[in-house]
Symmetry: C2
């Protein structure tokens, strides 16, 4: 596969020969896009100026691994979001656009935007990530919301806390039971972390807050079509996680694919579960990048890329992160982790800067080394003060893994202010078993009457 790279020209024909500005457009301000922009501005050479345009539909970079803590009222929404403009405020060569991409005109080298003039590129980096997929069941989207954006997290939190409030006021025992049943669909890291956090919220934090209901009697059900929780982890860790989740009182339904989701609850693996709150953490698919590019989409809509992350046949376009499909050294596709996206972003940013340096006439045109993923391991919280950590050479479970999990996530937070605030919130929660963010910011429009008290 390295051969394919060696055959790529070091300074592709597509790059403009004029000594003017080279326009790099990056779509997506997640781990991948941000890393690419940072790598370019750090490597920018004096003899050739690069202009970077970073386009995202949101104004912030979101630290997805902690999003479930916003949804379960442990953290505030601002603690894990960083305004993208703040990252590049002192880099005059980087421009941020908050806009929606609608397509790509590869012939004219233009990125098309909703309601705005298209933006021209010389090099394009697509780092648009993945979106949740409800397996074609459009009617499930509203009933079983997923966790991808800040707005999702605040919506989930409102829904979760509101269920307890409504149960407290409910006279019908069956309806109370239904309100206090929480179903999480999908037992990957997000689903496991959500289920664990809901269990902690219900069984510990909220238990003394109510007078008529006992939140500790809440049912939390985690279902997955596959036979294991955390299927991407080694079996030993996966089994530990399953035992740990059960000890937290979470009911596991493995091998139980979801058959129906309606206003009353869920049917999974033939079993009917009456539940008010159903959260979706199952399938994801790539954003419509393949459609934009006019290439064939692979499994889950992913775009297959060359070992240097460029599009086959078009070295001016890179696809990185969750939107791209690239095999690791073992031949298996790289996982959809922030770490992969970040490393690919840094790799591609350096590659672009290097191409321009050599194209500018200084130095020799060395062929690009293929991207190599450095596996820093994977982590997942499993309730309270417990986690699983897989570093390949080292596998941890329980409290030790949780300590590693906490340290790694604090380190990975982009802003120092976030680190301090998240740390304060965690220490506080750990000391007091309390969750400061259990605030319902707005009432679900359909559920509550409109009269103003």
């Amino acid at each position: 596969m390295a051969d394919a790279v060696l055959r790529e020209p070091a300074a592709p024909a597509g790059l403009p020969d004029s000594p003017g500005t080279h326009k790099v457009v990056i779509v997506g301000g997640g781990f991948g896009g941000l890393a690419a922009a940072q790598a370019i501005v750090r490597r920018k050479t004096a003899d050739r100026s690069i202009h970077v345009t970073l386009i995202d539909r949101n104004n912030h970079n979101l630290f997805q691994p902690l999003l479930y803590q916003v949804a379960t009222a442990a953290l505030g929404s601002n603690d894990i979001a960083l305004p993208i403009r703040a990252v590049f405020r002192n880099r005059r060569g980087v421009e941020i656009m908050m806009a929606d991409v609608t397509g790509i005109d590869r012939g004219r080298r233009m990125v098309e935007l909703a309601g705005l003039a298209p933006v021209a590129y010389d090099t394009l980096v697509l780092a648009t990530g993945s979106i949740y997929s409800w397996f074609g069941h459009d009617d499930w989207v509203a009933r079983a919301p997923a966790l991808k954006t800040l707005d999702d997290a605040l919506g989930l939190r409102n829904r979760l806390l509101d269920a307890f409030e409504r149960a407290e006021l409910c006279d019908d025992p069956a309806e109370t039971r239904r309100l206090l049943t929480f179903v999480v669909v999908g037992a990957g890291p997000t689903g496991v972390e959500m289920a664990g956090a809901i269990a902690e919220l219900a069984h510990t934090t909220l238990d003394r807050d109510f007078r008529r209901i006992r939140p500790s009697t809440s049912r939390i059900v985690l279902c997955d079509a596959g036979p294991h929780v955390l299927a991407a982890f080694p079996r030993r860790l996966s089994d530990y996680a399953a035992r740990r989740l059960q000890s937290l009182g979470i009911e596991l339904r493995l091998g139980a694919g979801v058959e129906a989701i309606d206003a009353g609850g869920v049917t999974a693996g033939g079993e009917r579960i009456e539940a008010e709150c159903v959260f979706w953490a199952a399938g994801t698919e790539a954003t419509p990048v393949a459609k934009w590019l006019g290439v064939e989409a692979g499994h889950h809509g992913l775009v297959a890329v060359q070992p240097d992350c460029s599009l086959p046949g078009d070295p001016a376009i890179f696809v990185i992160g969750d939107a791209a499909s690239l095999a690791g050294p073992d031949g298996r596709p790289l996982p959809g982790l922030g770490a992969v996206a970040k490393q690919q972003g840094t790799y591609v940013g350096r590659l672009i800067a290097e191409r321009l340096r050599t194209a500018g006439g200084r130095g020799s045109a060395a062929p690009a080394k293929p991207f190599r993923y450095r596996n820093w391991g994977q982590l997942a919280m499993v309730g309270g003060s417990s986690a699983v950590a897989d570093f390949g050479w080292l596998r941890l479970t329980g409290f030790a893994a949780w300590l590693v999990w906490s340290a790694v996530h604090l380190m990975l937070l982009v802003s120092a202010r976030s680190r301090v605030v998240v740390y304060v919130n965690w220490v506080w929660a750990w000391l007091t078993y309390s969750r400061g963010a259990r605030v319902i910011t707005r009432l679900p429009p359909s559920d509550r009457p409109g009269a103003r008290a």
Copy 2:
């Protein structure tokens, strides 16, 4: 006026004679309602049990004085909100209901709720506060949102930050100008603080974040129908605030009542101001308490109360805080401050506990002393690191007042966690001129196209 109190029976005829539980219902979980509930549970006597039901449409107590900092991206929404249940989690005699009150049946002593069975009371405390009033212009409500709830604050923040984003992408100079014009209607403390915070955001925090626009050229206009800013403050402080606001580049339009608000902007005092963002901080009125009680509403819908905060002719009902009208020792009505509501809540809570103690047969039935407001002064921020403080005997302006302002507000925050987090955010902002919370949580539904990048 004290005579009116002396004529009130100490243990009113309305109180039940049975030795059963005395039911106190408190409507509103703001400063007043929370203080009343806390005073009752602290004074609860052993020989007579009291059951307190606190009803609020939100699940949290909101620290209103810092709400403008959430709206202007200095603080997160959870930093100033405290779950009401968390305050009373260890008080079994206090029950919280998240519900909407629709009316009061004084004959049957019932509080009527939307979609729920009514709740019976022996003693009722109404602490429902005030709501904004657009002087009957219903079409202004959506165009010029006000700042009362967390949801309002997040909506205002989204609107404010989105205006800068849209200006950056705008090709039409007149429209760019309009997007970068911010009008605040009403020059009381909230309006002055909003205008000052917007000026700081535009002129300092955001200035280097954009490439095509210069946020420092934003117009911020503060208009008021009256001749002075901060009219409730002594003239010297009011004049200082006006000079300070002008030095921050804020255009004052005093004596300029608003005549029209439409999608394009505002007309005030005969002048047309094209502006995208218009924020309302003008008239307030009481919640519909007078209507619920079937009594005549006074000025701004307030309910006139006896010197012991009870309703004339019905000693089982108290109205406190912004919903009540009561004259101070100087004969002027008490101001609509959190401090007044809090002191009235504590006073009424103690009075209720005392009444029951004496009604229970222990001790003598001493007549209730009238409520006396202890004036701890009033404070307002006027931009950056400057404030005005009026303690009667001491009047401060500028940095000294700001230090007092900061200390007082940190102290008044209900939870210790909030204190730490708010302090970290403030120190951070002060050191870095940055605002960590400038995150757009969701896109305004009507303004932006729906395509997903």
